[in-house]
């Protein structure tokens, strides 16, 4: 790992090669959050990358030790804030696993619905920011960004009608979910899903066969199958490199076993393959959301009564790990409980944290312009990297 200070080092090597150390610093339009990459350049080719993280560390794991199981789900969304529903789902799944609390079927279907809608929203943001990084804030990228955000706003409107908030939902609680569907919501949801499916075709028309887009993404940032398995990336990165692994399929949670969906796999391993994987995931998520709406069972939405006191949920001694397929990969939560109302220790396994580890292997050899394309296709969210 690099020192925390990037020095202006210019070495003149044998053949007159000059190496320039450039800081793509935490304040950068395409750093996707706060990420510092110290690039060593030869001309325009990147020779080495040192990644420095930790600029968004907010002591979530320590915070979880001071808050009870009832209070923390409303803050859990701040880890992966772009895909907030899956972050909350990870935490309550861990608590329910350790405490052996079962969840009624309606709550499980609602959780699936929320998670898949959130995946669509997160991928909208991914597409928008990636194209904006590649196309410029004053250029065609901004156009795709604004279209994608326009669609994401529709989903956030749905969530606002469901919970009242647009980002920090507090939708999940231990034992079930906190809110039931209001009147007219299913109709609004179906209309939104139809509209988004239609608009997806527009995005693909803008990007798919576009040689400008293709030359930027094909052959760029190739993660080979062996490298993917070695480094331990997850999510669309691993599915873009030919490995068919999805937590929803491998270890079905929250009644995912009852839904039929395809898991997209591409073998090329470059940015274009990851793009294709996510575009198919868009459509699959919309299909799963429709199945959840169609098959929503009646019943209670929580197996525990509504929150009345702060220490209401007590989990007996034990430890457990729950994982969830977030939009970026496997998001996990390891919980050590000691019988009280607060966890003894909580560890978040951030999907982006593991995904970022692949950057020093795939960036060298590419040009600077490819660095932003690769970063965008890895799609890190620094809330779950730094916690």
């Amino acid at each position: 790992m690099a020192d925390t200070v990037a020095q202006h080092v210019v070495e003149i090597g044998y053949g007159g090669n000059e190496r320039l150390v450039m800081n793509m610093g935490p304040q950068h339009p395409s750093a996707h959050g706060v990420f510092r990459a110290i690039l060593t350049l030869e001309g325009e080719t990147v020779v080495a990358v040192d990644a420095v993280i930790g600029y968004l560390h907010r002591c979530h794991e320590k915070l979880a030790e001071t808050l009870t199981y009832v209070q923390y789900p409303s803050i859990a969304s701040k880890t992966d804030y772009v895909s907030a529903m899956t972050a909350e789902l990870t935490y309550v799944s861990a608590v329910e696993k350790v405490g052996k609390i079962d969840v009624p079927r309606r709550a499980q279907y609602l959780r699936v619905l929320a998670a898949e809608l959130q995946r669509v929203a997160s991928h909208c943001l991914w597409l928008g920011t990636w194209c904006m990084d590649m196309g410029g804030a004053l250029g065609g990228g901004a156009t795709v960004f604004l279209y994608a955000i326009r669609e994401r706003e529709l989903i956030l409107d749905l969530f606002e009608a469901l919970t009242g908030a647009r980002l920090l939902y507090g939708f999940h609680q231990v034992g079930g979910v906190r809110y039931d569907l209001p009147a007219g919501w299913t109709e609004q949801c179906r209309q939104t899903l139809n509209l988004i499916e239609q608009r997806l075709r527009e995005y693909e028309a803008m990007l798919e066969d576009n040689p400008f887009f293709l030359v930027r993404t094909q052959g760029v940032g190739v993660i080979s199958r062996e490298l993917a398995l070695d480094v331990g990336v997850c999510g669309p990165l691993i599915r873009g490199s030919g490995i068919d692994y999805d937590v929803r399929r491998a270890e079905p949670y929250s009644s995912y076993g009852e839904f039929t969906f395809k898991v997209p796999v591409e073998t090329a391993g470059d940015c274009y393959a990851r793009y294709r994987v996510r575009m198919v995931e868009f459509r699959e998520s919309i299909a799963i959301a429709r199945q959840a709406l169609d098959g929503l069972p009646e019943g209670p939405i929580s197996s525990r009564p509504g929150v009345k006191s702060v220490g209401q949920v007590r989990v007996p001694k034990g430890e457990g790990y729950a994982r969830v397929e977030g939009a970026r990969g496997e998001l996990g939560c390891y919980l050590v409980a000691d019988g009280g109302a607060k966890p003894y220790r909580l560890k978040w396994r951030g999907a982006s944290f593991c995904n970022l580890a692949v950057l020093p292997h795939i960036i060298p050899g590419h040009k600077i312009a490819d660095v932003v394309a690769i970063m965008g296709s890895v799609d890190p969210v620094f809330g779950e990297v730094d916690r």
């Binding site: 808050l67 009832v70 209070q71 923390y72 409303s74 803050i75 009624p104 065609g140 156009t143 279209y147 326009r150 706003e153 409107d157 606002e160 009608a161 469901l162 919970t163 009242g164 908030a165 920090l168 507090g170 609680q173 079930g176 906190r178 809110y179 039931d180 209001p182 009147a183 007219g184 919501w185 609004q188 527009e202 028309a205 803008m206 990007l207 798919e208 066969d209 576009n210 040689p211 400008f212 209670p300 939405i301 929580s302 197996s303 525990r304 009564p305 509504g306 929150v307 009345k308 006191s309 702060v310």
Partner: protein, 191 residues
């Protein structure tokens, strides 16, 4: 995805087709209505459950303050922004002081959920921009004034707890009618 064209003309033709498609999408969007909502002259419609600023309310039938100073909201608040002092009286208790630091509030709605008397609620407005941070340290009078001034959100403590509670056999027998009544009241207007 179309196969890789190998000839010069083929590549050029693919470029032309792709350019035409992408520019067609932008042209179509040129003629769509913009989605901008010109806040603050135009406000969009907030849903019923909108979580806005917090406020304290009075009881509907007696007109007295609904807050009994039980401090459940203070205990459950994750960032601990609520501070309550109880005032004991003969028939029921009151809150002597109630301060809420709105600048640190997370708007998680847990205090609303916990309140046994539906005293603290959230409003359907979020206009809280001020130039002085002390104006966002709300005391009891300010909270009551806010409660009277703005439209309340649908979610109150009892409604939320009723939505979440699993129907138990004992409850269904004993308070069957009460439950049916509260369910009817819990049915909010269609959007």
């Amino acid at each position: 995805m179309s196969p890789e064209p190998t000839s010069f003309l083929g590549e050029t033709w693919q470029l032309v087709v792709a350019v035409r498609r992408a520019m067609g999408v932008t042209l179509r969007n040129l003629f769509r209505r913009p989605v901008t909502v010109q806040y603050p002259t135009v406000k969009r419609v907030y849903p019923d459950r909108f979580r806005g600023i917090l406020a304290l309310v009075y009881e509907k039938d007696t007109g007295e303050e609904a807050c009994i100073g039980c401090r459940l909201c203070e205990l459950i608040c994750p960032p601990q922004v609520i501070k309550v002092e109880m005032l004991k009286a003969e028939k029921r208790n009151y809150a002597k002081t109630f301060t809420l630091e709105l600048y640190s509030c997370e708007f998680c709605e847990l205090c609303v959920q916990v309140c046994p008397t539906d005293a603290i609620i959230m409003l359907k407005t979020f206009d809280l921009a001020t130039s002085d941070r002390r104006e966002m340290l709300l005391d009891k009078d300010r909270l009551h004034a806010l409660g009277l001034a703005h439209e309340p959100s649908w979610a109150t403590g009892n409604r939320l707890r009723d939505m979440q509670a699993p129907p138990k056999a004992a409850r269904a027998e004993g308070k069957g009618e009460a439950k049916a009544e509260s369910k009817a009241e819990a049915k909010e207007p269609a959007e």
